[in-house]
Amino acid sequence: MERLILVKRMLIWLFLIGMSLFIILPLISLILWSFTKLWPWPELLPKVWSLDSWSYLFSPSGRAFEALTNSMVIAGITVLLNILLGFPAAKTLSQRQFSGKGMVFILLLSPLFIPLTVSVMGLHHLSVQLGFLPDYFSTAFVHTLVTMPYFITMLWYQFNLLGVKVQEAASSLGASGWKIFLWIELPLLTPALLLSCLLVVVISMSQYLPTWIMSGGTLMTMPLIIFPFASSGNASIVAVYSIWFFVPVILLVLIYYVLLKWCNKKVFGLRG
């Protein structure tokens, strides 16, 4: 019995170490690549170190801050659009019964099933139609189409878990629909909403093709800057941009955890 527990513990540790290496190793490689222009195989470490790629990143032609700002602004608008459109859709799909509900659900999730390359032409047509909108909004609109299935599915599941019993109790105590939403549903769904928003930000910040099509390549976001370097095989520049891209994502994840902890403490009275 003790031997079995020991084997079990060892397996858990092996799994954790494996997972950590899976996450950390590519990061180590990225960091090393960002400080060298040449790292031929099978050298264990680069022979010549250089800060050129970092200098380029923060030079005016590197457009690092512009790309990051654009990516964040578009991601922010995408999150807002998801909340405005996806939240009521998830609530309705979970709590209401109506004919054709399955079809509506499939329609809202369809961007998950339709390959992006197939919808490129449609997006291009849409970009012409939405030409009157600033690039930020038209791009965010398409990012919303891409991210909304994830957003809706996560919130729909949470609404299902929440059920309707506490809302019914609130209604029997005299609360109106709006009060039930503000006082009951919203606080209880805040952790799931935060996680959905984080997912939307990460997906939106990673979009290349929809951004390129909707802005005609004029709106510089992080993927739009990284892609040409990646296709030309400039691994060092790609590495510094990837790290630059990675920092705000990590910051957002940290903010998510801080907010979640605050929310659990404030909303549910949970300690720790």
Partner: protein
């Protein structure tokens, strides 16, 4: 105080409640009983306004709109609110300022036996405390009619009895009316001023608690209350001989198991006045909380006999004599 007339509720083609007419008086406790799926909860939801009536009306005395408060089977507390916030929720929904509503709610803490727990969250409370909060948040709204949907069903027996007694005393002090759904006979009969029996969406009998024992309206009602020794008049006549004419009115009769006498063969039971003796054999002894039930096989049937816990039950297969007190058989119509 509250009058329901010809109320019906349909879900699609399914008629859940049909032609329900019911009146509940001031400070009255009306207990509604019935099997699962008979429509009890639906009726409560209809009165509370959570489910619309398909037909019929609900009216209040002197045409004023009375207040109802619904307490569900499970506490349904708001998990992100403290006890105090849960209790004050209804007042908050009515737009009463925070200071005033908390003052109002604090007066109820001692009544609800929740003093010292006001800052706790629902997951930090026991089952009984949660249900008291659930009751309390309705009571602070001072409803005219409290609607209880088996609120203590999920609690253990001693706690259920304790809370039932507590609520009964509170109701007698404060004078609100209660429409109380329960499937526990002891709970129902200990508090009810009147009892209604709902079956297949219709109230088939209502009256004082003992009416259901003394005058069951049908075999269906008698079976629901698990009345013992229910047999047709023909069967009783086979056992006890021709019955007097005044007992011929109804087709069915039941006999309280504790009124049946039992004696072991050979000990020679006296053939007392009014008792008819039957030969039988003990086929089962059941030990119940406050009695022991002996099942005796007699010619073409089985008779249940109840003995007090201090009595000694004859072992299975013992030959016995069963004394039937003919005058104590309660006669009732067979119904549909």
């Amino acid at each position: 105080m509250l009058k329901i007339k010809d109320a019906g509720i349909r879900y699609g083609n399914q008629q859940i409640l049909d032609a329900i007419s019911l009146e509940i008086g001031e400070a009255e406790i009306y207990v509604l009983m019935g099997p699962s799926g008979s429509g009890k909860t639906t009726l409560l939801r209809g009165i509370a306004g959570l489910t619309p009536l398909s037909e019929g009306t609900i009216s209040w005395r002197e045409d004023r709109k009375g207040q109802t408060g619904l307490v569900f089977q499970e506490p349904r507390l708001f998990p992100h609110m403290t006890v105090l916030e849960n209790l004050a929720f209804g007042l908050r929904a009515r737009g009463i300022p925070a200071k005033k509503r908390y003052q109002q709610v604090k007066q109820y803490l001692s009544i609800l036996q929740l003093e010292g727990l006001e800052d706790r969250f629902p997951h930090q409370l026991s089952g009984g405390q949660q249900q008291r909060v659930s009751l309390g948040r309705v009571l602070v709204l001072e409803p005219d009619l409290l609607l209880l949907d088996e609120p203590f069903a999920s609690l253990d027996a001693p706690l259920r009895i304790q809370l039932t007694e507590w609520l009964y005393s509170l109701q007698r002090q404060q004078g609100f009316s209660i429409l109380w759904i329960t499937h526990y006979m002891d709970e129902a009969f200990s508090v009810a001023d009147r009892v209604g029996l709902l079956m297949q969406g219709r109230i088939i009998q209502e009256g004082k608690p003992l009416d259901f024992y003394q005058k069951p309206i049908s075999e269906e009602a008698a079976a629901f209350f698990s009345l013992k020794n229910r047999f047709s008049r023909e069967q009783w006549e086979k056992w006890v001989g021709k019955l007097p004419k005044e007992q011929d009115v109804h087709e069915m009769g039941w006999l309280p198991a504790e009124s049946v006498k039992l004696s072991i063969e050979g000990s020679n039971i006296e053939n007392e006045d009014g008792y008819r003796l039957l030969d039988g054999r003990v086929i089962r002894v059941k030990y119940e909380p406050r009695m022991q039930t002996i099942l005796v096989e007699v010619q073409s049937g089985e008779i249940e006999v109840q003995l007090p816990v201090w009595g000694t039950a004859p072992p299975v297969d013992t030959r016995v004599k069963v004394g039937i007190p003919v005058g104590k058989i309660v006669w009732y119509p067979k119904g549909n």
